[in-house]
Amino acid sequence: MGAYSAWSVFKEGLRDGRGWRQAWRTPTPKKHYDVVIIGGGGHGLATAYYLTKNHGITNVAVIEKGWLGGGNTGRNTTVIRSNYFYPESAALYDLSVQLYEGLSKDLNYNVMFSQRGNLVLAYSEHEMEMAARQYNAMRLNGIDAELLGPNEVRKMAPILDFSDTARYPIHGGVNQPRAGTGRHDAVAWGFARAADQAGVDIIQNCEVQGFVMEGGRCVGVETSKGEIGAGVVGAAVAGHSSVIADLAGYDLPITSYCLQAFVSEPLKPILDTVVISPAFGTYVSQSDKGGLVIGGGLDRVPSYAQRGNMPVQEAVLGGLVEMMPALAKVKLLRHWGGIVDVTPDSSPIIGPSGVDGIYLNCGWGTGGFKAIPAGGYLLAHCLATGEHHEISKPFNRSRFETGQLVDESAASGIPH
């Protein structure tokens, strides 16, 4: 049984699902591919998918060190939004939201993009002025947005603390109705399945150990499963971008940090939107399964350890209790960490790596998941055409030389 649908689920149910096919194959790598993509996370798999879909390039391999979707794609807090200030960021992240909106049908895999809104809280008149600056920017960028007062915030998230004694009393906020959450694993699996069906070889448990150079151009990769030739190479290895860069001989303005995430025991519906509180440094949503999915800021110590550290746990979870005191006694079920690339302006790097034949998709910082479709779409464009898509131009690495940074934190309180 190939295509997924209510009908196919019904039919397979009648015959014990014997007809369900592999979601993706386990191929042995070929000697050579037109495109080799390093990194079987969301961005790498999306890149492969859009190469086949938008550019008709199907002789593609995705090489993954571990299991696909096992990096930040499978570790994030699943927020999808495009509430950005600068037109450059807005164009990038809203392309992603638009692609997400059609993704389940596009991939024939339910990624459960749930547009339940993303509410950024403001706690004083000054913060409301900054919120207005943000809201107006979004509207002028063509992004949907609502500037809300306290009563509208209360309607959206009654569980917030509206008492007089709250450390930060709620004055209002900015909501993006089209934002929301998605099922992170499903995004990786959906892209993998669709790419595989289009002929892409997804090679798991295969580590890239070096690059094959010829006359200054990269023509392949050395892997734990042997050498694999490549017309062109794309690298989408968030968290380990510097490690790959070091192997290939280009440098990146990236520092790796651990970003922690938390999930509570499953509860009956109590929170129907994503709430971000810059003041408390905490954000939270409730998954369809019922768990509160909680996140916050980066750990303070640069790290490659996918393991959280206490001070940030206390800051983030303490912030949640201040935000929503009624949840104080809810139990924490799991906490974990992922390694994120942090660039000087907290914006991604897309495009030429500096080494001929290698293109980049990295530097997503804490916000890579929401950008997966766009990241793949744009890297695919670079790999297929050798040139930037209009939307990815501002994110070329050369911006660090010209100083033309895209620093959202410069203009707004939105965590980036």
Partner: protein
């Protein structure tokens, strides 16, 4: 809660420290001509090693800046060096 050794104060909790950047960065002489590329390298380049790293940290409570050598995977602290010539 990690514990870092301040060369002056001794072991203290990580919250008393601030990461200043990777060690070994020399500020270019800006009174001379410097290319955009050189300056960008000074501002932004990162080694970001996976494994042993040399970093500059400040112990906020005593203001001491020093070099800490750590393992960025195991978080083990391998040693410190003072920035001061006359460390005593």
């Amino acid at each position: 809660m990690q514990r870092f050794p301040c060369p002056f104060c001794g072991p203290r909790p990580e919250t008393e420290f601030h990461f200043m950047g990777e060690a070994g960065k020399i500020r270019p002489k800006t009174t001379q001509a410097i290319s955009d590329a050189e300056w960008a390298t000074y501002l932004h380049s990162q080694r970001n090693e996976k494994g042993t790293v040399r970093e500059v940290w400040m112990h906020l409570t005593c203001g001491e800046m020093f070099i800490m050598i750590r393992d960025s995977v195991t978080m083990e602290v391998l040693g410190t060096e003072t920035l001061r010539k006359d460390a005593s």
